[in-house]
């Protein structure tokens, strides 16, 4: 099975090289999607055939960057992809365990699930519980960590999973689409490194996601 890691990134000049190199040990290709960073991320990446960098000339959002990575993987005949955050909060050595249900044909989509621990910011804990409950009530889908960006899927099901969200609602939309299309989903516990930031997602993004969930229910 030909696998790729897709890393949507914006201005992650400090972490991108280490994340890409580490991920490269577990997949056939690492696709860094530079979503319009002020300094092109390509100059911070090592010269390695395994790592490629696709650059958006302007910032389109995480969801759009993920779509670009997936389209490249599809056009280059990959079988499965995994998404990793560029800020280094995911352990690349967990890639194999996340991919394993797909390799064993036990699942089409695998979600990495973070455990709630003390370092997790209170607002993130609250957001996690609120969104998980809302999705479960409205769609009957139980995914313990809706906002986790560490997830993999088989590219043959991309048409059923494809998202429209260009920004942070993408994670939730993927789960909703997986549930609506009855894809085989699995959860794998992951550990998360909380660095200096929780800057990726804002409260406003959370409110937008809640609004989107309600709209998707009506769709």
């Amino acid at each position: 099975m030909k696998t790729a890691a897709i890393i949507p990134a914006l201005n992650e000049i400090n972490n991108i090289a280490s994340v890409a190199i580490a991920a490269g040990q577990y997949v056939d290709k690492v696709i860094v999607v530079d979503d319009g960073s002020a300094k092109p991320l390509k100059q911070f990446l090592p010269l390695d055939d395994k790592i490629i960098c696709l650059r958006h000339r302007i910032n389109l959002g995480k969801g759009a960057a993920m779509t670009t990575g997936v389209q490249w993987a599809i056009s280059n005949k990959f079988d499965a992809v995994i998404f990793i955050d560029a800020d280094g909060q995911h352990h690349p050595d967990e890639i194999a365990s996340i991919f394993s249900p797909i390799m064993n044909n036990d699942a089409d989509v695998v979600f990495g699930v973070r455990s709630v621990h003390q370092q997790m910011p209170l607002i993130a804990k609250f957001g996690k519980v609120l969104l998980t409950t809302l999705v479960k009530v409205l769609f009957g889908i139980k995914v313990s960590d809706i906002l986790s960006g560490y997830r993999a899927f088989r590219l043959s099901v991309y048409n059923k999973l494809a998202w429209e969200s260009a920004r942070y609602a993408v994670e939730t939309e993927m789960i909703v689409n997986a549930g609506k299309n009855h894809l085989r989903c699995k959860e794998i516990p992951i550990s998360t490194i909380y660095n200096d930031k929780y800057r990726g997602m804002t409260i406003l993004d959370g409110i937008r996601i809640i609004f989107n969930i309600l709209v998707w229910r009506l769709r």
Partner: protein, 111 residues
């Protein structure tokens, strides 16, 4: 003639000139230009002859011509806002596709 009528007429003259300017710069097509001119002429007629729309006021139980103009204005604004929203979404989609194809093409060219 009261002040608000004079102000409205000056506004209409100003907007008529702007419409012509956009048409001359070829930013408007002929139909767009005619649409806007009809709108401005209609407004100036209502401003100078408020009783010319009495039949509409009676039909819809509206008391004053001013109320009628405000109601029509709000309806037009809602229409324009909706159209702007649709156009913006369309532009967003086109831009996203363009940037994505540019990123993918750029990579393929270098390989």
């Amino acid at each position: 003639m009261i002040g608000i009528q004079i102000g409205a007429i000056l506004f209409v003259i100003w907007m008529t000139y702007f419409s012509y300017l956009h048409y001359r710069r070829k930013e408007f097509g002929i139909y767009e230009y005619i649409f806007w001119q009809i709108l401005w002429i209609g407004l100036v007629v209502v401003v100078i002859y408020p009783h010319s729309v009495n039949f509409i006021l009676n039909a819809f139980s509206i008391n004053r011509t001013f109320d009628f103009v405000v109601i029509v204005g709000i309806i037009v604004l809602f229409g324009i806002t909706f159209r702007n929203y649709v156009l913006l979404r369309r532009m967003e989609r086109k831009l996203e596709n363009f940037v994505r194809q540019d990123a993918l093409r750029d990579k393929n060219d270098k390989e």
